[in-house]
């Protein structure tokens, strides 16, 4: 889940101000994020390491009929890089739990794209605007896992990412900023496969 309050407001204003009857069809829904952590355990229970993750979501205002279509898309993606601190302890029967804290740099990209196609007159047009910006995040997690086989473990985690909203600057014109800030804050849930290198 992603807060994206400012972007949601922009999306709504664009639809309401439209003269062609745009409606919001997608509004920054939760989407798969991908993570890769490398953790070194300094003790059987305490580990530190690097964490990374790729996030994306998007939104759309749309109107389409027999004569053509017009869509306004917002595509947001972010790359997290940071440090992770882990406390892990075993439970019975190869189960374990962990408490993690991550924080790091989030590099966000935002793209506004509007596209129109009119069928009968074979007319199409599109425009794009790209924004970029960096911010900080902190994410506490809890994890429950299972030692699968040898060095493989499988776990599930839950946490909340606090993203410190940052402004987005137009890529083509660094003097222009987006009206509003990007906010990736939200709950995180996931499933993880781990390989223990130094068991």
């Amino acid at each position: 889940m992603y807060a994206m309050n400012d972007l949601r407001t922009l999306l709504k204003q664009s639809a309401e101000g439209s003269s062609v009857g745009l409606k919001t069809t997608e509004e920054f829904p939760p989407y798969y994020s991908y993570h890769f952590d490398v953790i070194y355990y300094v003790s059987p229970k305490i580990g530190v390491g690097l964490t990374s993750g790729v996030y994306s979501t998007g939104a759309r205002n749309s109107i389409a009929d027999y004569s053509g279509r017009y869509n306004e898309d917002i595509t947001a993606k972010a790359l997290n890089l940071g440090l992770i601190g882990v406390f892990k302890d075993s439970l019975k029967n190869d189960l374990f739990y962990g408490i993690e804290l991550c924080s790091g740099l989030k590099m966000s990209d935002l793209q506004f794209e509007s596209k129109i196609n009119l069928n009968d007159i074979d007319y199409s047009d599109e425009s794009k605007m790209d924004f970029t910006g960096n911010g900080w995040w902190v994410e506490p997690r809890v994890r429950f896992g299972w030692n699968l086989y040898k060095s493989f473990t499988c776990s599930t985690y839950a946490g909340y990412e606090f993203h410190f909203r940052n402004k987005m600057t137009m890529k083509e014109n660094s003097q222009s900023n987006l009206l509003g800030k990007i906010d990736w804050s939200g709950f995180r849930f996931g499933v993880c496969i781990s390989f223990i290198l130094n068991n």
């Binding site: 003269s19 062609v20 009857g21 745009l22 409606k23 069809t25 997608e26 989407y31 798969y32 991908y34 890769f36 490398v38 990374s52 993750g53 790729v54 994306s56 979501t57 998007g58 939104a59 759309r60 205002n61 749309s62 109107i63 389409a64 009929d65 027999y66 004569s67 053509g68 279509r69 017009y70 869509n71 898309d73 917002i74 595509t75 947001a76 993606k77 790359l79 129109i116 009119l118 069928n119 009968d120 007159i121 007319y123 290198l197």
Partner: protein
């Protein structure tokens, strides 16, 4: 290092799994909707032609039902005006555009009315176009033809219709001289290009037509045309001995007809084209008239249209005179007038004429020389001698002023040298060669009329009447001997032309034929209550004229036979009978030959 490589690969692969919005808001749209109908509030979409004669701005405000009008274009005079809506305008200024016919086209681009995305963005719609013929004409009126016709008894004026947009009104100014009526009308309906004057019944009428219109500057202008019409009605006459019929053409206008005789209406006339009255006979022309009164008579008018004609019996010859004589030798009539002395042949063609400014006193004198080849008269105390063509041969001043009386009543050439001169006061014999009075009578006062003077044709006697009748004998052209002096009342006298001894006397009781030789009355004629005027020297008929009975009698006094009786309306001494022509001094004559036997 190996782990770092694996980390990087995995990271790159994760970045390709980016969220991509794919949902759409697809709306079902009804494609088959009616074509939008274009309407306008200003320019007339139904008209085929636009007319411009002054600076004109054409506005349009087009709208379409269920569709938006995106833009319009006006194409005119190789120019295109574009408007991003259904509202627009274009200007036509005749001062900068030549007269002629042009085309104006308006193109309208509207949405389709479906409500689809393309419709909203202007990618789907209709193109309408409408074309007009534009007629540019500079207001001017070159000519307007007017005519007048008679319809159903009324006078109708019609004129060219000014079927132009710049027309304002017709204004009529009409003056009917027939009934002295004037009126003004203003007509604003361009199709009413006629006017009926219900009171016109004849005579001159003038129509002044003003066409009011708007010129190219937008100001009022006027074109003016005049038209004159005159329906005249002539009166014709046909006179018999006892009756006179005067007739006229039927008046085609609605009116009543009122004939008049010398200003007096003739009643009981049953015809509207003629009237018959008692013949008025000879004399000065009488004015007859017909008044046509319109059925509708406007107030403050003259009451009707009058047409007049003068008529009298006889033929107009134009020789007004105070005396006339006929010379059988010269076959010539001589007319003496206050301003002229005229000789004609027997057909009354002028042979000669002598004019003078005015003869104040010698207005009755005509005489012929003994040989008949000369003609004499007196003008302002001068004895004039002419040849037969009235070429002046001599002019001799007579001593009438010396004897105190300027009006010469009679002259008689005794031998072309000695003349008998009879004035109001005396009678004298005058020698024009020696310029001396040979003999004279005593002063005779009161001889104030020409018909109270007469000299016999042979020059032996002269008679005049004042308090008595005086008859002088002219003896040897040297003496005037009083032969007879008869008391009594006498109206006039004249000697018989073919019997110079006989003096015809007009008395209150009768007519006497006095024998100057014997001094006795040879005959009394009492069958007429009339004045004897003269005896025709050719036929010897006596002319008698009765003022009271208004009758003229032609009397063969030798055989005592009344030859002809005529009416007259003049005065007895207006008439004279010469060579079977009765002359009247207003310039008419009446030929009695068809009615007499000589």
């Amino acid at each position: 290092m190996r782990y770092l490589f694996i980390f990087s690969i995995l990271l790159l692969s994760f970045t390709s799994c980016i969220y991509n919005p794919s949902n759409e808001n697809f709306v079902e749209i009804e494609k088959d909707v009616p074509v939008p109908e274009i309407t306008d509030k200003n320019i007339d979409l139904e008209a085929d032609t636009l007319y411009v004669w002054k600076y004109t701005r054409f506005n349009y405000d087009l709208s379409a039902v269920n569709a938006q009008i995106h833009s319009t274009q006006v194409i005119f005079l190789n120019d295109t005006l574009r408007y991003a809506s259904g509202q627009g305008s274009f200007v036509v200024n005749p001062t900068s555009v030549n007269e002629g016919t042009y085309k104006v086209k308006i193109l309208v681009y509207s949405g389709s009315g479906t409500g689809s995305l393309a419709d909203k963005l202007g990618g789907e719609g209709y193109e309408f176009n409408r074309e007009w013929v534009l007629v540019v004409e500079k207001p001017k009126i070159v000519d307007v033809k007017i005519n007048a016709t008679i319809e159903n008894g009324f006078l109708k004026f019609s004129w060219d219709k000014i079927d132009k947009r710049f027309f304002k009104s017709y204004r009529l100014y009409i003056h009917d001289s027939g009934i002295n009526n004037a009126m003004t009308r203003e007509i604003t309906d361009v199709n009413r290009n006629s006017f009926i004057d219900s009171s016109y019944v004849g005579g001159p009428i003038a129509l002044n037509l003003w066409v009011n219109y708007i010129n190219s500057d937008g100001y009022d202008a006027i074109f003016q045309k005049s038209f004159d019409y005159d329906y005249s009605i002539k009166i014709r006459f046909k006179e018999g001995i006892d009756s006179l019929r005067f007739s006229w053409d039927k008046n085609p206008f609605h009116c009543s007809v009122h004939p008049q005789n010398n200003g007096n209406e003739i009643f009981n006339v049953r015809s509207d084209t003629m009237a018959t009255i008692r013949a008025s006979g000879l004399g000065s022309p009488i004015q007859y008239g017909v008044t046509f009164k319109p059925t509708y008579l406007p107030p403050f008018t003259s009451g009707g249209f009058n047409t007049y004609a003068a008529f009298t019996a006889g033929i107009f010859d134009g020789f007004k005179h105070s005396n006339i004589e006929y010379s059988q030798l010269l076959h010539s009539y001589i007319f003496k007038h206050e301003m002229s002395f005229t000789a004609t042949n027997e057909l009354l063609d002028v042979k000669g004429k002598y004019d003078y400014s005015w003869d104040y006193s010698d207005n009755n004198t005509i005489d012929f020389s003994v040989t008949g080849d000369k003609i004499y008269t007196t003008v302002n105390g001068q004895l004039k001698t002419f040849n037969s063509n009235l070429e002046l041969l001599n002019s001799e001043k007579l001593p009438v002023g010396e004897v105190g009386f300027n009006t010469i009543r009679v002259i008689k050439s005794l031998d072309d040298r000695v003349f008998l001169i009879g004035t109001d006061g005396i009678i004298f014999l005058y020698d024009i060669v020696d310029h001396r009075i040979i003999a004279r009578t005593p002063t005779v006062y009161g001889v104030s009329s020409n018909f109270k003077f007469s000299v016999s044709a042979d020059g032996n006697y002269v008679a005049f009447i004042n308090d008595k009748l005086y008859v002088y004998e002219i003896r040897n052209k040297q003496e005037l001997i009083l032969r007879h002096q008869i008391a009594g009342s006498f109206y006039g006298c004249f000697f018989a032309p073919n019997d110079p001894n006989k003096l015809i006397l007009n008395t209150p009781e009768n007519i006497r034929i006095f024998n100057c030789s014997s001094g006795s009355v040879d005959r009394v004629i009492d069958r007429f209550y009339a004045n004897p005027i003269n005896i025709d020297p050719v036929t010897n008929y006596m002319l008698l004229v009765s003022n009271s009975k208004a009758k003229i009698y032609i009397y063969d006094y030798e055989s005592d036979k009344l030859v002809l009786e005529l009416n007259h309306h003049g005065f007895a001494y207006d008439f004279k009978l010469l060579n079977n022509l009765i002359f009247t001094n207003p310039g008419y004559h009446f030929d009695i030959s068809p009615y007499v036997y000589k």
